[in-house]
């Protein structure tokens, strides 16, 4: 087991895993990674189960390995380098003892740094995930030394072909209050191009739109009802708010629909200023890909990284063409 020292940690970086199940009745939402597929991708690239990882909002990170380790870079792409050499995104790599990995700040979305053996930070209520809205854990800070779990694997230098960036509308399913909204609003919701507002975090993301606000009759006196990550909540000003993994477990604002869980990671990765659209799909036509299925697919899509010579450190130490001679015949 080894540790990493964070030599530079920008604001809002937290430890995240797949979160906590079984606490909704006590008011604690699942939490966990904003982009679960990024943790699944890291597991595929490191040939291990899903582990706790560092989740980076657009802030920068530098960390030093205090022993040899493997790591994977997934989620929203950043410029990443080790000792001046750029690293492939959606890839697994190695760090030697004393080497430093640096990730530049991003412009939006969440990047993930996962480790062979995973982060071994303390488990609270069954998970290592910080849940800042609930007061569990805190962002990591410059100078923190984080323990890694025992790494039983050896795979590295794998890449995962990034899926084509989908521009299709995010799939919506009915939720608690869908039936309370008049049909013209349900139609308008699906015709509207929304902009991801700068106001947003792991609890939720505000969406803005040109045109009339959305709302239902009597929405200020609705009975509070179960709320879930992915719900599209209509707040007092008539703009939708997409609830994130750290959302409240109940809420009194009406929910016009709920995102398909497979589309929530893409929604959470939408950078400020980008647009998105919403489209209802009939419940009996909605297909479902569970986390186990996604991970199995990703494992099958990983491949050895074909290295660009420019990326190879200390190129002169490699014998590039075996069997090359001086050209003189013996």
């Amino acid at each position: 087991m080894t540790t990493v020292t964070l030599t530079r940690a920008g604001p809002g970086i937290t430890v995240q895993d797949l979160g906590r199940r079984g606490y909704i009745s006590q008011g604690l939402s699942r939490g966990g990674a904003a982009d679960r597929t990024a943790l699944l991708a890291a597991a595929a690239l490191l040939r291990q189960e899903v582990t706790a990882a560092l989740e980076l909002p657009p802030s920068p990170l530098a960390l030093r390995a205090n022993g040899p380790l493997r790591f994977a870079l997934t989620g929203s792409e950043r410029a990443a380098q080790v000792e001046g050499n750029r690293l492939a995104w959606n890839g697994s790599h190695r760090l030697a003892e004393g080497e430093t990995l640096t990730l530049a700040a991003g412009t939006g979305g969440y990047a993930y740094v996962s480790f062979g053996g995973g982060l071994a930070t303390p488990i609270r209520l069954g998970s290592r995930a910080a849940h800042l809205a609930a007061g569990i854990g805190a962002p990591v800070e410059t100078g923190d030394e984080l323990l890694l779990g025992p790494d039983g694997g050896d795979a590295a230098d794998l890449v995962l072909e990034a899926e084509r960036t989908a521009s299709a509308a995010l799939r919506l399913l009915p939720s608690a209050h869908t039936a309370l909204f008049p049909e013209d609003q349900i139609a308008r919701l699906q015709e509207t191009t929304f902009t991801r507002d700068p106001r947003g975090n792991r609890q939720g993301i505000r969406l803005t739109q040109d045109g009339a606000p959305f709302g239902t009759e009597g929405q200020l006196s609705l009975l509070s009802e179960i709320a879930r990550p992915g719900d599209i909540q209509i707040t007092g000003d008539g703009s939708p708010m997409l609830l994130g993994p750290e959302c409240q477990t109940t809420g009194g604002y009406p929910r016009i629909g709920c995102l398909h869980p497979d589309d929530l990671p893409r929604a959470m990765q939408t950078p400020p200023g980008a647009t998105l659209r919403l489209s209802f799909v009939p419940l009996d036509e909605a297909t479902w890909q569970g986390e186990d299925d996604i991970l199995r697919d990703m494992r099958a899509r990983t491949a050895p990284r074909i290295r660009d010579p420019h990326d190879i450190r200390d190129l002169g130490a490699y014998q590039l063409i075996s069997g090359v001679t001086t050209g003189e015949t013996a």
């Binding site: 008011g27 007061g135 200020l220 009802e225 179960i226 007092g236 109940t250 009194g252 186990d292």
Partner: protein, 249 residues
């Protein structure tokens, strides 16, 4: 799309919450019997232990079931739920056993109660009458939600049916006593809210570092508020906040 939602006015009513959730609703307004029904029905669903269920919960008047659609078909689950609903009158169910009563000191003075006058006015009461009514009898933890360990307490008399504010209060501290829609909440976190702050306690309902009981209240527990001065409150320490506990059932 609308056909996927049961729009009949009859209760109990099944509503899908996304692809992997079902809600069994016993009333669309605050109702003591519906709250008991939701608690009892959740307990019965838990006892069934159907393969593919992930977790269950209750809100004020509903039972929520999260499931894995790969292992449990929604229509199959809905059919089982309807059958279970038909086995008895859930509105006549008893409250769960193992319940406790907490007596929580609360200050209604000064900065501790910035919106008490406004809330009392909306309820048609004087400030003194409002305090007296809030402390007159125990209220029940109807559901836990919004934040961990945070209980929706009720219900208050009908004149306390105050709407939430249209604009959120940007920040209310942990321990704040707030009200809306015939209910009281002692906030378990520091958060923005549409509810009006009418008092302050030192009780913290969520203690993530307590391995034995991180969440103090359970649905069905009772809370009684007892007024103290601002100075007396300042002398109390979180997370206990001077709370006394007794078993009631």
């Amino acid at each position: 799309m609308q056909s996927a939602t049961d729009t009949s006015d009859a209760f109990p009513r099944l509503t899908p919450l996304g692809i992997d959730g079902l809600l069994v609703t016993f009333a669309d307004r605050l109702d003591e019997a519906a709250n008991r029904a939701a608690l009892a029905f959740r307990s019965a669903v838990d006892d069934e232990g159907w393969e593919g269920m992930i977790e269950t919960a209750t809100s004020l008047a509903s039972t929520f079931i999260a499931f894995d659609p790969a292992r449990l078909n929604r229509e199959t689950l809905a059919e089982r739920l309807r059958k279970l609903l038909g086995t008895r009158d859930w509105f006549a169910a008893d409250l769960p056993t193992g319940r406790r009563r907490l007596t929580i000191p609360v200050s209604f003075e000064g900065d501790h109660a910035p919106q008490l006058d406004e809330a009392a006015d909306l309820a048609g009461l004087t400030r003194a009458q409002a305090i007296e009514e809030i402390c007159a009898r125990p209220v029940r933890a109807l559901a836990l939600g919004y934040a961990p360990g945070q209980a929706y307490l009720g219900e208050l008399d009908a004149h306390w049916n105050i709407d939430r504010q249209r604009d959120l209060t940007p920040r209310v501290e942990t321990g704040a006593l707030v009200t809306a829609v015939r209910q009281l909440i002692v906030f378990a976190t520091t958060t923005p809210t549409g509810w009006r702050q009418i008092g302050m306690t030192r009780f913290h309902g969520f203690r993530p570092d307590d391995p034995d009981r991180p969440i103090v209240l359970a649905p069905g527990d009772e809370v009684r508020f007892t007024p103290v001065s601002a100075a007396e409150l300042e002398a109390l320490c979180a997370p206990e906040g001077g709370v006394t506990l007794e078993d009631i059932a």
